[in-house]
């Protein structure tokens, strides 16, 4: 695959503060290491189910987290660990969720694909492609209804652009001028299907006018640029009644999920994208422009790995959910009754 057409050269972004870059770099690294730890646990057979890694796309979650105000929401897909880590969820709880433990982010109910942390602004990872788009529009609808000034950020893969729910959700958001930004993380593939076999167009923002959404589109190489341009879209949605559609050209370095060897891509292509890897580039900048030493960088990595080792340990040592837990989370009154110590009642059994 050739490099994407929108190789927009990032305008030199003002304010490349080394401390800030270092902070953002560390956040990106935390996501990467979290997922590497998770992948290892998966390979060791300690966690199961589906595991979709975000490796390569971290700058998006990190930029987003930077921009969120209290009350703002992130709604995303099954590829959701990056957002959880970036938004400040405890990595132990995230790892424990992958292990299906009681201490997991959602108590072992959802697993990798369904991270939810309302208090951190993570309104969920959703596993039916496109199905979350109307839901996210609903969050934005509520914000407009309540006048709470919050913005909803709805992330989706480029593969989700072709399904009905996405169309309907975007259409309603445009019609009703909802405070929402739809962010396509175009990582070039939907499972093994490259964009050119998914759709007849190259540029997905061509759809924006049909919904009266504003649009922007760039290659995610630089976390500052990504933050700055996302900020504009968010601002338009929050303050100008201009919902937006943003296409981010990015890449996942791993397979679609752990079971995918990713044979449909050439080494060359992967290498090309590795050069754009915002984490790699941030590291190079820290090392080059900002003169950070190898030891300093290694120290960061060690701290981060330390956190992830702790997370794994926490997950491994955590208990399984209690058997009765499976009856909770269905009807509110059952949850209340359980909290008050009552036995669960089962319909039809």
């Amino acid at each position: 695959m050739s490099p994407p057409s929108a190789e927009t050269s990032p305008a030199p972004v003002a304010g490349r503060d080394p401390d800030e870059l270092r902070r953002l770099y560390t956040q990106m690294l935390r996501i990467r290491r979290f997922e590497e730890a998770a992948a290892r646990a998966y390979t060791q057979g300690k966690i199961s189910g589906f595991l979709h890694l975000y490796i390569g796309q971290e700058a998006i979650a990190v930029s987003t987290a930077e921009l969120m105000k209290p009350g703002d929401r992130v709604v995303t897909t099954y590829r959701d660990h990056g957002f959880a880590v970036a938004l400040g969820c405890d990595t132990g709880a995230c790892m424990a969720e992958l292990y299906g433990k009681k201490t997991g982010l959602v108590g072992g109910n959802g697993g990798s694909m369904h991270f939810f942390a309302k208090d951190h602004g993570l309104w969920g990872g959703y596993a039916i492609v496109g199905g979350h788009v109307p839901v996210a529009a609903g969050h934005a609808f509520a914000s407009k209804y309540l006048g709470d000034g919050a913005v909803t950020l709805c992330f989706l893969g480029e593969g989700a652009m072709h399904i009905g729910a996405t169309h309907e959700g975007m259409h309603l958001a445009g019609l009703w001028r909802l405070p929402i930004v739809f962010v396509i993380e175009n990582n070039q593939y939907a499972m093994g299907t490259p964009l050119r076999r998914q759709t007849a167009v190259d540029d997905l923002t061509v759809r924006a006018p049909s919904y009266r959404l504003t649009s922007d589109r760039w290659v995610v190489r630089d976390v500052f640029e990504t933050r700055a341009r996302l900020a504009k879209a968010i601002d338009r949605a929050r303050n100008d009644e201009q919902p937006g559609l943003v296409e981010l050209l990015t890449y996942r370095f791993r397979g679609h999920s752990m079971s995918d060897p990713g044979k449909y891509r050439t080494k060359d292509e992967v290498e090309q994208w590795k050069e754009r890897d915002p984490l790699f580039r941030a590291e190079a900048e820290l090392r080059g422009q900002h003169g950070m030493s190898e030891e300093d960088l290694e120290a960061i990595d060690e701290t981060v790995w330390g956190e992830m080792d702790d997370a794994v340990r926490f997950a491994e040592q955590s208990p399984h959910p209690e058997p009765e837990h499976r009856f909770l989370g269905h009807l509110v009154e059952d949850d209340l009754a359980a909290a008050a110590g009552h036995e669960p009642v089962q319909e039809g059994n």
């Binding site: 959602v106 109307p134 609903g138 309540l146 949850d335 319909e347």
Partner: protein, 327 residues
């Protein structure tokens, strides 16, 4: 007591609840400026404005999902499907979002949302517009399902549904919107999950809901001529089922017939039949019978539709058969 049509009773329920709680709003196709395809929401736009009475484009998955999202965010949406047939394109939103998000998030979210609209056959609308959806939705853990047959029940149960903190699927019927009945002036709620004996009797238990209720009552009438007293139980809530009401009656009559609008394979009807044979096995003097649609796509032609839809005569025949009255 004032006589109201079912549509008026439903409207009163929505109106009262909207008046009581700012977070309640109505959304759907033609609910606003058109006053509702079947006039259930008549006048509400005028009273509450565009913010709370929201017309939508034709996009059921879209606005069902918007409802789900809005409910997660603290609103209390009433989503009208013009008919439940059109909920088929929103099936995933109900199955995978409305019914699951509280569970997936481990209780972080509460989803107080009502999906309502007419269900099952009306008259000569052919197969795509004549389907009964309770058989699908009753299967979903995480939702409640209601089906109403009188103005009194419609009002009291819709108010309860709107106040309920869980997703509720609420079935009405085009052909019953004009049915009149007494509705008290003062406010009342009917608890979800409680069946109602619409006619007491000792000989055969007839279990029914929705459009089936009138058929069952007419059948009970027919059976009187043969000296059979039917107890007609209107389930009203289909999930959770009021097992106690059903079993108490069956233990008394030792016989049960189900009368309802819906296909015969599986679904709510089969579930009830299964529960009776399982939970009242030793009390049954005859197999449980079901009188429902024939196992076909609904034809448009009136004479055929009348054969497919359960009639009082067909129901009476089944009642007599299991009461071992020679027919």
């Amino acid at each position: 007591m004032p006589l109201l049509q079912i549509r008026e009773a439903l409207r009163a329920a929505i109106d009262e609840e909207m008046g009581r709680d700012d977070r309640v709003f109505v959304m759907g196709e033609e609910v606003g400026y058109y006053d509702g395809a079947y006039k259930v929401t008549e006048g509400l736009l005028k009273k509450y404005g565009e913010k709370r009475v929201v017309d939508t484009p034709i996009a059921e998955a879209g606005f069902a999902g918007v409802g789900v999202g809005a409910a997660m965010a603290g609103l209390r949406p009433i989503i009208e499907f013009m008919t439940f047939n059109f909920s088929a394109v929103a099936f995933d939103q109900i199955l995978n979002n409305a019914a699951k998000l509280r569970h997936l998030s481990n209780g972080q979210f509460t989803l107080p949302i009502v999906f309502r609209g007419p269900n099952a056959a009306a008259h000569m609308l052919s197969s795509t517009h004549s389907q009964a959806f309770e058989s699908f939705y009753c299967g979903f853990p995480g939702v409640k399902v209601i089906s109403v047959a009188t103005p009194y029940d419609a009002k009291g149960l819709l108010k309860s549904a709107i106040r309920d903190d869980n997703p509720v699927i609420f079935f009405e019927s085009e052909v019953m919107y004009s049915v009149k009945g007494e509705v008290p002036d003062e406010e009342y709620l009917i608890p979800i999950g409680k069946a109602d004996i619409k006619r007491p009797g000792d000989d055969v238990t007839v279990i029914t809901w929705g459009q089936g209720v009138a058929v069952a009552l007419a059948a009970a009438q027919l059976c009187e001529a043969d000296g059979l007293q039917c107890e007609v139980i209107d389930l009203r809530t289909l999930r959770p089922l009021d097992d106690e009401a059903v079993l108490t009656s069956v233990r008394k009559t030792n016989r049960a017939v189900l009368v309802y609008h819906g296909w015969p394979y599986g679904g709510t009807g089969a579930e009830i039949s299964d529960r009776i044979q399982r939970l009242a096995f030793d009390h049954l003097d005859a197999p449980v019978e079901r009188v429902c649609y024939e196992d076909v796509n609904m034809p448009y032609a009136e004479n055929l539709e009348n054969l497919v839809i359960p009639s009082p005569e067909r129901a009476a025949e089944a009642i007599k058969r299991i009461a071992y009255v020679r027919v």
